[in-house]
């Protein structure tokens, strides 16, 4: 047992890889023979499907720390991503193995009039409960499809999810503590820590204006039930419109500071080229970078998977989703001729500007042969998806027009 900001939790660092050898189980082959796998269309893209606590079998990116990706077929099920299929991403392997919500504590400290140590019930009583449907997307979602490839978590398109979050505005908590003059940023940390003391802690920072805006939320429910353990139980920071790196899990400490936070995961990692496209010529290094920020507009087809067959002259309902950084989707279009002509899709019900927006389109294939179905969306401020993928050294914010190759038979 150790204490962490007053939270008494059991810790477990998972070192099964080393223990396989250590425990004399080393006759195990390199891969488990029986594991189900999911293939993806990039080199070395096949992943094991493994069931984790409170999760259905998901694509395992890494075992320690846990990093799980949603199989893409899940996104055809519903506009809200089911909790048991929602992707999981930790950075550091010293994660809690047990959390007692009854004794959980959230600290608010730094440049505030009244430092706070809130229990969950005190947090919930601080203000009006609010809800938002919002997309959480990994900064490196789709990295595996980038070119040239780069080191990092080799993600397909499933490190994204859309959920209804219930909680209290971050602003309400900060105002209760009383933010003092001179505040510049607010930092957030959770119960996940490094294994070694020499490894930087995972701490994220938001500018004070964003932190005091209406949108950021401290959530305790996801799709109307507890947040799954691996998604940040019992409370998680929600930053609608921003990449998932800011959505700190097992949120335990909030600190108001008078300077720009210089921790590794702000100052060195999760940075994009400091220009409009957040891109550089492939293979080159940007002169200047800035912390990653808002989601860019994206759209996908979910009703057909690459390689599917459809019958000629039989109408098919194409379905998928689109999202942007919080301005709402204006339109979605589909092309079957390499982008020469585009057909306008019908948008589904809006669950708010931060949500996935479902779209459908009736399509009647007229000719037999291979077709690359392309989909593109226009964001709420008119922003569009690039035809060709933009590139940066970490392959963040990838959002080019996607093509789903199918065969008309």
């Amino acid at each position: 047992m150790s204490t962490d900001n007053g939270n008494t939790i059991k810790r477990r660092v998972f070192l099964q890889g080393a223990s396989l050898v250590a425990a004399g189980l080393a006759f195990k082959p390199l891969r488990s023979q029986a594991a189900e796998t999911e293939a993806q269309d990039f080199a070395n893209g096949t992943r094991e499907l493994v069931a984790y606590p409170q999760k259905r079998p998901l694509m395992r990116i890494t075992a320690r720390p846990p990093h799980l990706e949603t199989p893409f077929s899940v996104f055809n099920e519903s506009v809200l991503t089911p909790n048991d299929a929602f992707f999981v991403r930790y950075h550091l392997a010293n994660i809690p193995a047990s959390i007692d919500a009854d004794n959980y504590q959230l600290q608010i400290k730094g440049l505030v009039d009244k430092p706070l140590a809130l229990s969950l019930s005190e947090l919930k009583a601080l203000g009006k409960t609010v809800e938002v449907v919002a997309v959480n997307q990994c900064s490196g979602n789709s990295r595996g499809y980038g070119s040239p490839r780069v080191f990092g978590a080799q993600l397909g398109n499933g490190s994204v999810g859309n959920a209804r979050w219930t909680g209290i505005p971050l602003k309400a908590v900060l105002e209760h503590a009383g933010v003092q003059a001179g505040a510049k940023q607010v930092t957030f940390r959770g119960l996940d820590h490094p294994v070694l003391p020499t490894t930087p802690e995972f701490v994220k920072a938001l500018g004070i204006d964003l932190a005091l805006s209406d949108e950021p939320m401290i959530a305790w429910a996801m799709n109307a039930t507890d947040i799954p353990f691996l998604n940040g139980y019992p409370i998680k920071l929600i930053v609608p419109g921003y990449f998932g790196t800011y959505w700190v899990k097992h949120l335990s400490e909030i600190e108001v500071i008078d300077h720009t936070f210089e921790g590794y995961f702000m100052e060195k990692a999760y940075r994009v080229p400091d220009n409009d496209c957040q891109c550089v010529p492939p293979g080159t290094v940007p002169d200047k970078t800035r912390p990653i920020g808002k989601l860019k507009v994206r759209s996908f087809i979910t009703s057909l998977q690459p390689g599917d067959k459809v019958n000629v002259n039989e109408p098919v309902t194409l379905k998928g989703f689109a999202f942007d950084g919080g301005h709402g989707i204006q339109s979605v279009e589909v092309s079957e001729d390499g982008g020469r002509h585009w057909q306008l899709a019908v948008l589904g019900e809006s669950l708010g500007n931060y949500s996935f927006r479902e779209w459908t389109l009736q399509w009647q294939p007229r000719e037999k042969g291979k077709v690359g179905l392309q989909v593109r969306a226009k964001g709420g401020q008119g922003e569009q998806q690039p035809v060709k993928a933009l590139w940066n050294p970490s392959i963040y914010v990838k959002n080019n027009i996607e093509t789903t190759p199918v065969t008309v038979v």
Binding site: R12, A18, K28, N44, Q54, A63, D100, D102, T198
Partner: protein, 214 residues
């Protein structure tokens, strides 16, 4: 895992539904075992990678990288682990790990392979045998102090606690040597210690003497 499903807590807030009573017990998880291990190699960097990379992350981090990166790129990655993430790698470790990773992971994805234990034996037999050095160098070279300290628990137990545990035990030296050489888990908690098959008998004795003297 069934226990976790059984522990679903009641909704504390739900629109249009009556609140159900919350279950007052901690939520506990047990994670599935790792299945990917480092690809065996007779290069010395394989042993270094087993001992040091695995302290902080599973081998799938490496296994799923794209093919085609060269030794300079892999060495750069090892250096990033040292410089950015504080991995206990010496400058020579960085080079050895880079060499091992480039030679082993730049081609095709892994195929089923011979048992890892075999490869460890091969590796330990082909590692250049260093001259016996002082204990501080041994501690540094093998990143012992990444996980242990003299007087407090870090990842593994304090050396002082180990020494106290074996006090009066006539088999202490041989047992500690065995545990350093072969690794293991369960004696000091669930976190396993990796094996150090590359250490010479004299080096093992030096380290065991040092630990037991604390």
């Amino acid at each position: 895992m069934k226990r976790v499903f059984g522990q679903y807590k009641a909704l504390l807030f739900a629109v249009c539904t009556l609140p159900i009573y919350a279950v007052a017990s901690p939520l506990t998880i047990n994670l599935p075992a790792e299945t990917i291990v480092l690809r065996p190699s007779d290069l010395p960097g394989y042993v270094v990678a087993q001992q040091k990379c695995g302290i902080c992350h599973s081998a799938d981090y490496i296994e799923y990288q794209p093919p085609g990166f060269n030794q300079k790129q892999w060495t750069g990655l090892a250096r990033k682990m040292k410089e950015s993430y504080g991995a206990p790698l010496s400058e020579s470790d960085v080079g050895l790990v880079g060499e091992y990773l480039a030679a082993t992971y730049s081609g095709k994805p892994a195929v089923e392979s011979k048992p890892a234990i075999k490869a460890i034996e091969v590796a330990s037999n082909t590692v250049d045998k260093p001259a016996v050095v002082d204990v501080k160098t041994l501690l540094d070279q093998n990143a012992c102090l990444g996980c242990h300290a003299i007087d407090r628990k870090v990842v593994g137990p304090a050396y002082h606690d180990v020494a106290m545990h074996y006090k009066g035990n006539a088999q202490a030296i041989s047992q500690v040597i065995d545990h350093i050489s072969h690794g293991g888990s369960g004696r000091w908690g669930e976190i396993p210690m990796p094996p150090f098959p590359g250490l010479q008998p004299a080096e093992l004795k030096q380290l065991a003497d040092f630990v037991l003297a604390q």
